[in-house]
């Protein structure tokens, strides 16, 4: 029987209240959102916080909305909300693709976007997806809010820039014209972490790639990003040859490790192949934005 160790519990009534509780209890306090990473870790004693600060009552952090060319996602939005959101499907098909293969439908009902990002598992799909679309994280602390690029949010496995007295409150994704995106994941079974996964976004002017974002999960990419491959694509036509070369560059620059999900060379193969394929999906959607959902199905 797995049960967490003794722990104190506080219910936060507002973000400010949660911040005050964090200050009062110090670094041994943990924010409890969906709990679908934290509670299993507490059962295994990998995490042993002294106090849990439950923010599930902060429903004002559960939003997904479009505002001034940005998609704004409250950190307490559940995975299922992201999957079901029309605004997400319209502007960031990559997130819908990713959410279809994150955990399982029941876990997605309670697991939160912010919790997944702050857990900072090196295999986390959303970390790769938000890096690909060049999101911005909004972090609130006792002295106000600060913003950090999604690409600077993770400082290492299970580590982020969020300080002990701070909370991730929002993710902002810029909506730019000519964009398309997608996410492809190879996993052993439903609910498992990826063996390898790649998300991509491209922004086209005609058929020229103005900008590209490539996020990789579970293959040891620094900050979840294939920066060299992105640089290669900028200014080049969106062709299968260039996507293939970008895949090779992404594979050369990641550092997968062998584990029970697969050997390193297979993961490197996935990085190459999935990068090339998902770039083609993203470009297809950028060319035919009204057909985003049908493109998703044919790519799936």
């Amino acid at each position: 029987m797995q049960v967490p160790a003794h722990v104190e519990y506080e219910k936060a009534k507002s973000v400010e209240h949660a911040l005050a509780l964090l200050t009062r209890y110090g670094p041994e306090a943990r924010i409890l959102a969906g709990g679908h990473s934290l509670i299993p870790m507490m059962k295994l004693r990998i995490a042993q916080p002294e106090v849990l600060i439950d923010i599930n009552g902060l429903t004002d952090l559960c939003y997904i909305k479009v505002s001034d060319h940005e998609l704004l996602i409250g950190s307490l939005a559940r995975h299922a909300q992201l999957l079901d959101s029309d605004a997400v499907g319209e502007h960031f098909a990559i997130l819908r693709d990713a959410e279809r293969v994150i955990a399982d439908p029941i876990v997605r009902n309670w697991g939160t976007v912010g919790g997944s990002l702050c857990q900072a598992d090196p295999s986390e799909d959303l970390s790769a997806a938000f890096a690909a679309v060049k999101g911005t994280m909004v972090i609130q602390g006792p002295d106000g809010t600060r913003t950090v690029s999604a690409r600077e949010f993770h400082t290492g496995p299970y580590e982020t820039v969020v300080a002990p007295g701070e909370i991730l409150v929002e993710i902002r994704l810029p909506v730019r014209p000519g964009g398309g995106s997608g996410y492809l994941k190879v996993a052993r079974r439903v609910g498992d972490w990826p063996v390898g996964a790649v998300g991509a976004a491209v922004w086209l002017d005609g058929d020229v790639i103005i900008d590209a974002g490539i996020g990789l999960a579970a293959v040891g990419a620094r900050h979840f990003v294939a920066a060299e491959a992105e640089e290669y694509l900028r200014g080049r036509p969106a062709t299968p040859e260039h996507f293939g070369r970008a895949g090779e560059i992404a594979a050369e620059n990641c550092r997968p490790v062998s584990d029970q999900r697969g050997p390193a060379d297979y993961k490197r193969h996935l990085a190459r192949e999935l990068t090339a394929r998902v770039l083609a999906v993203a470009a297809g959607r950028a060319r035919a934005p009204e057909g985003k959902d049908s493109a998703a199905r044919s790519a799936g």
Partner: protein
């Protein structure tokens, strides 16, 4: 800590440790043993109950997180002494053998049919994809849910 949770429409107040999991609250504190405690790692889905309007894996939710909320378990599926069509479907289509996964499967099925009264077999399979059955090979579970879809009264 004092918690009050409305389980299947009845309010229950108890003093619990914050570390108590919802599945153990239901089974050990309230004696509602219909919800099963399975893998303990949020993989198998035997412990699925509804928290307010959505199914959750109750081995990965603390009882204190459900304080002030509604919980629905398999004991709350039947209404006024009449089985839910999902329960009738599992009986009609032999949707279980050992029965360990059944409560969680039925609560997820009820949720699916509330959102999507006429699902395809593929949609049923997707809905239960986070739950494990070691007996049926899932075939009869899918048939049972589709039976319920065919036999439930249209929603108003």
């Amino acid at each position: 800590m004092r918690v009050s949770i409305a389980v299947n429409g009845a309010e229950h107040s108890r003093d619990v440790e914050p570390r108590l999991l919802l599945i153990h609250f239901l089974r050990d504190e309230l004696g509602l043993t219909g919800s099963h405690w399975g893998c303990d790692t949020s993989n198998c889905g035997a412990c699925v109950v509804w928290l307010d309007e959505t199914p959750v894996k109750s081995c990965t939710v603390l009882a204190v997180m459900a304080d002030g909320h509604r919980v629905r378990t398999v004991e709350g599926l039947a209404r006024d002494g009449k089985l839910d069509p999902v329960q009738e479907g599992f009986a009609a289509c032999h949707g279980l053998q050992c029965g360990f996964c059944t409560p969680g499967m039925m609560l997820t099925a009820r949720w699916l049919l509330d959102r999507n009264p006429r699902p395809t077999a593929g949609e049923v399979r997707a809905a239960i994809s986070g739950q494990v059955c070691r007996c049926t090979g899932y075939e009869n579970i899918v048939r049972s849910v589709l039976w319920a879809s065919d036999h439930q009264e249209p929603q108003s």
